[in-house]
């Protein structure tokens, strides 16, 4: 989770990833952030996020992203 937090802060230092729970629904993250985050996740966790996973419920919070990554690693 620390590594993910590092990635997220790197993408958007202005966002409070500890507490935000509607990163997508509230339009906080924009498309370019997602490109950066997805590429960084793929690289750091050796996974491949696919098109079907690009849904708000997987990206609305840091925890949701972490759950998605863990599921892929299983």
């Amino acid at each position: 989770m620390d590594e993910l937090m590092e990635i997220l802060k790197g993408a958007r230092p202005d966002v409070d990833f500890e507490n935000e729970e509607a990163l997508i629904d509230d339009g906080i993250l924009v498309s370019f952030d997602i490109i950066y985050i997805v590429n960084a996740i793929n690289e750091a966790f050796d996974v491949e996020v696919n098109v079907a996973q690009l849904k708000p419920e997987n990206f609305n919070s840091a925890k949701a992203m972490w759950d998605m990554i863990r599921k892929m690693q299983e």
């Binding site: 790197g10 202005d14 339009g27 924009v30 498309s31 370019f32 997602i34 690009l54 849904k55």
Partner: protein
């Protein structure tokens, strides 16, 4: 037809195809006939509410936009009212919106969004309701306004980043938009019944091409929800569902297609024309698109907002090698593109030699609204013409042309950057940061290899959090630096200026 007002496009298409859908979003659609009548009626209400006298025209009307067809209806209503529209994104920081309104001093604010606004604005619903109560005398009034119209009247103004810390508003005339639309119709193979998927936000001039090309060709503009570019699982199915065949998109949007390998899930095969602009298209991305849209025509477009969207184009014929650069091509008819040496202001007439790209023609904007100083700096007399006034726009872009006359883009002469589809002046970020009490000196540098904005600053102590908190109040999120680097002092060059080159070279901080 010899138009002198962009509304002629709407009127002629409404006569030919009254029942065809003109604009469509996720929730609603409007056909040409209703679009015509409704925008004329709302125009009447706008004039009435703004208390405009019969002879008054060309006033700014601020339109708070959203990704919906209501925004477009309000734009056309403003034009019918004899004024010009200025799209404003309601999600921008309040202080920035206020600064825009201070520049504009609009005769009225109207809104197509349900978001909370920092100022009072007439809502679309209210305007529509008022327009349904008026009698038929609106037609007479609309006709009168049109009699006073000339093609150098402004049609819209669009804000763009300004070096001095205040956004500049580029104001564009009917003549320029009409010129653009005719150039597009004669230069590119539009399908018989074009359906445009609008990607660009309405406060970006890329969207001007969707709106007016479609009105001219009797096509349909389908507005793609912004969220589809953030979470793109729904993007291609939406294009397919709507039989979209034309994409006039920012390069950054097409890169999303490549980055997320959207073709893995679905290939919308109705696409026949793909045009892109805004920044350099990576050849890898272009080849990816060409692999799947084999029969489509791909066009690289070039030009800043100040010359009304685009001034040159290049139709890509074959697949390119990864190391090739894509030309920005040749200028449109009725447009002249030339190179000057920015130091001597001499014309460059040799293939391969680099110079600043300058543009002449009907495409030139009217300047920056209420900002004669910046206007005079950028819209200047052609130095080779001394006997009469002949303006050219200095783009600040460096370019060259090859033996066949195709132009190539080769960087900037100043510190303006293109970051994720947005045009940003580094100076604007610096001005805002330097205004903070804590800061001694700040410099914003774009690292192209990482596509990130770095902010280097010196202060009594490290204070990233204070800077972030303060500048968020003024800068839109796409302008916020990605990395903050605290330095005891900033390196200076021989001219006693901050050494940007040295900062850019600082390795992986």
């Amino acid at each position: 037809m010899n138009e002198y007002n962009v509304l002629s496009f709407l009127e002629s298409s409404a006569e030919k195809h009254p029942d065809r859908v003109a604009f469509k979003d996720k929730d609603e659609a409007i056909d040409y006939n209703n679009l015509l009548t409704r925008s004329q009626k709302i125009a009447f209400v706008i004039r009435k509410n703004a208390n405009l006298e019969l002879f008054e025209k060309n006033k700014p009307v601020a339109v708070f936009i959203d990704r919906n067809i209501r925004s477009l209806q309000l734009f056309l209503a403003v034009v019918y009212s004899g004024n010009f529209y200025v799209p404003i994104d309601p999600t921008l920081p309040i202080d920035r919106i206020q600064a825009m309104l201070d520049t504009l001093q609009p005769v009225c604010c109207i809104s197509a969004t349900k978001r909370k606004l920092p100022v009072e604005a007439d809502s679309f619903d209210s305007l529509l309701e008022q327009s349904e109560e008026i009698g038929d005398d609106y037609l007479e009034s609309i006709k009168k306004i049109r009699e006073f119209a000339i093609d150098t009247d402004p049609v819209y103004a669009i804000f763009t980043s300004g070096t001095t810390g205040v956004p500049k508003s580029v104001i564009v005339s009917h003549r320029s938009v009409i010129d653009l639309v005719h150039r597009f119709a004669e230069s590119f193979p539009f399908p018989e019944l074009p359906v445009f998927a609008n990607q660009a936000p309405f406060d970006f001039d890329v969207s001007v091409k969707d709106i007016y090309n479609s009105l001219n060709l009797g096509g349909t503009v389908v507005i793609v929800p912004k969220s589809y570019f953030v979470m793109p699982a729904a993007l291609f199915p939406y294009l397919e569902e709507n039989n979209v065949n034309v994409l006039i998109w920012a390069v950054s949007a097409l890169r999303i297609v490549q980055n997320f390998k959207l073709f893995d899930a679905c290939v919308p095969d109705s696409i026949s024309l793909v045009m892109f602009s805004g920044e350099i298209m990576p050849v890898k991305c272009l080849n990816y698109l060409m692999d799947y849209w084999k029969d489509a025509t791909f066009v690289n477009l070039y030009g800043p907002t100040e010359i009304t969207c685009n001034c040159s184009s290049y139709i890509i014929k074959d697949r390119l090698n990864d190391t090739d650069s894509i030309p920005i091509g040749k200028s449109f008819a009725n447009t002249e593109m030339l190179l000057i040496n920015p130091d001597t202001m001499q014309r460059i007439r040799k293939a391969g030699e680099k110079g600043e790209i300058c543009v002449k023609g009907s495409c030139l904007a009217l300047g920056y609204y209420r900002n004669s100083q910046q206007t005079e700096k950028a819209f200047v007399q052609d130095p080779e013409v001394t006997a009469y006034q002949d303006l050219m726009y200095r783009t600040g872009d460096i370019g060259y042309y090859d033996e066949s006359g195709n132009f190539y883009y080769a960087g900037r002469s100043d510190h303006q950057i293109k970051h994720m589809g947005h045009r940003i002046e580094m100076g604007e970020i610096e001005t805002v940061v330097n205004a903070l009490d804590e800061i001694k000196m700040a410099c914003a540098v774009y690292k192209e290899s990482k596509e990130m904005i770095y902010l280097f600053y010196s202060a009594e102590a490290e204070c990233d959090d204070i800077i972030i908190k303060q500048i968020r109040k003024y800068l839109p999120s796409y302008m916020l630096p990605n990395k903050f680097v605290y330095l005891h002092t900033l390196p200076m060059n021989a001219h006693d200026k901050i050494d940007r080159k040295k900062l850019a070279e600082l390795e992986d901080i």
